[in-house]
């Protein structure tokens, strides 16, 4: 159907239904900001003209489950979902769920009030929970799956392996040879993928991987600080550290400060996430994870409905991007700065 004749059909349907063309267009696109009975009448007319009408969401709300609201990481995920929902005339319900004990009461509440689907961040419901979701007709998309999801689960992640590789390659290209890595917890797929990317970059750069320079910890500033002290206490300390995320990288900067060292003059530091990296001292070089785009993509998967899941891939990874700021430099590229010769103290 040509564009013009399509437009003519919409005008005809609008006239037949006694509504505006923009209302007809809303129904065609599955938006919910049209009264249910009007939506049904227009949908019937459109289908009569051979249009495929978007399924439309019944309840006007989609649930977002998120493990913790204790790090700045969650805010961008919420923003992506909220922005995508607004575009579709929908609303986002936010609930913290990090385990089965929180999943069950959430599911009971959601089933009672009704929901058009759930985006579950970092929480992969088990087979039993997925069965209960299906029973309640609540479609699921997992965001940043903690472990590799089965092929029957739709999910959106990010290119963690490529990101970890880009971080280590950036340091190798600057001339670093003693590049340490602080990885996230082994229970996270993402943490393992980032660390594998780091190893690959070293191997490709013909830099031997020294396992004494690889440590692991929780994704917190406290663990980043602790692991950094451990690495810097070694006889052959690193000239650069790739952290598992920005929180860990902020902890590395704290450890450097406590030792009277600075980034990048003494040690180069790279984070992962790019949530608060720009506000660090110095502003942190990091691997940007498109958190908002991930939940927005998940929302659109839910909206597209189950039909599309037979033709589209079940797991999508959105690209990371290397963001170079001021915490990385060539090794030995030390600019001691005025603070290290004579204090340019502003006092008196």
């Amino acid at each position: 159907m040509r564009r013009e004749s399509g437009r003519r059909t919409l005008t005809t349907v609008a006239a037949e239904a006694g509504v505006s063309v923009s209302t007809v267009s809303k129904v065609l696109n599955g938006r919910t900001d049209v009264a249910p009975c009007t939506r049904e009448r227009i949908g019937r007319l459109l289908r009569g003209y051979g249009y495929q009408v978007a399924p439309g969401m019944q309840f006007g709300v989609v649930d977002l489950l998120i493990g913790s609201l204790h790090g700045p990481w969650a805010e961008e995920l919420i923003r992506g979902a909220v922005d995508a929902a607004r575009e579709a005339g929908q609303s986002i319900v936010v609930t913290t769920v990090s385990g089965p004990a929180e999943f069950t009461p959430w599911l009971e509440r959601a089933a009672r009030r009704g929901t058009d689907g759930v985006l579950s961040v970092l929480y992969l419901p088990d087979a039993g929970e997925r069965g209960r979701l299906s029973g309640a007709r609540i479609p699921l998309v997992v965001i940043d799956p903690p472990t590799e999801p089965g092929s029957d689960i739709r999910s959106v992640g990010t290119t963690n392996w490529q990101g970890g590789m880009a971080a280590a390659r950036h340091l190798a290209e600057l001339g670093h040879r003693r590049i340490a890595a602080i990885g996230g917890p082994e229970r996270f797929w993402s943490a393992n993928a980032r660390l594998d990317g780091y190893r690959t970059a070293l191997l490709r750069g013909r830099i031997p991987v020294d396992e004494a320079l690889v440590s692991r910890g929780e994704f917190t500033a406290a663990d980043g600080r602790h692991q950094a002290h451990r690495l810097l206490d070694r006889p052959g300390p690193p000239t650069a550290i790739v952290a598992g995320n920005d929180n860990q990288a902020l902890g590395v900067l704290q450890a450097l400060g406590e030792r009277g060292l600075r980034a990048p003059g003494d040690v180069s530091v790279v984070g992962f996430d790019d949530v608060i990296a720009a506000w660090a001292t110095p502003p942190l070089t990091t691997v940007r994870q498109p958190l908002a785009a991930m939940t927005a993509a998940g929302f659109r998967m839910l909206r597209a409905g189950a039909a599309s899941s037979r033709i589209e891939p079940q797991h999508v990874e959105l690209a990371t991007r290397m963001v170079v700021r001021d915490s990385t430099a060539a090794p030995g590229d030390v600019n001691p700065g005025p603070g290290c010769t004579e204090s340019r103290s502003p006092r008196k």
Copy 2:
């Protein structure tokens, strides 16, 4: 009614209604995780025994409007509301609303799907918008009102004036005399109250207020950095800086780093909020704002219903708390540290 006889009545009601005592207790407390018809039947029995049954929320959702999801500040506000809602068996819908252009489409969506009330963070609906909320029977509580709300509007804030005073007093007690302030934008009640608190602390400490040491900017790291450079460029630069919030304080730390200066050796720095302050280098002394408690208090105001608003105050301020970390010290208390004498570089 004594506690025991009260318990006996609940058991009797449970037996009469054919439900568990815990279900009766839920209805008594206005929780919504009981099917509507059961709730009504139990409510009738309870009222027959002279109980006052909490009004109960009809839709199971409360809306949280928030100006921006671009700073870590929002996450704690969301957490407070989500946690309070979970306790009550309710859900929180999150929407970004910073002006009338976003308020209207939100109100249309919320009215269509139903909501038990709205917590509006930093956005004070005007008289017309409040009229439309009343018309849609959506009760309102404003969180952190940007301007002083009228006496007919329920709101929850924090003790900004006392917080600003505590920050400046902390520095005065350390012995600082040239204490600068970077205030937030004049359009915010909170920013003005914090700055007034700063002036009061100086006056009480018999320190003359030097208006050349008072500047204003947006609540961003970029503005904190810019204003700090301006203040430090002056002939009689400050030995301490009170920032309007943590973002500004992080910008002050960046400016110090760019000049080869350090906190607290060269300049002491205090923030406001305590959201990301603990992760700064050095960990930031700040004034803690109880953001999660503010939205939780707002949620409970909505739940208590309009009836309680005739006996309880319309505006509540939750207390700030001074949190002393490593970015403040006595002036001249300079410990240059190993980084300033000879670089303890870990290289080679």
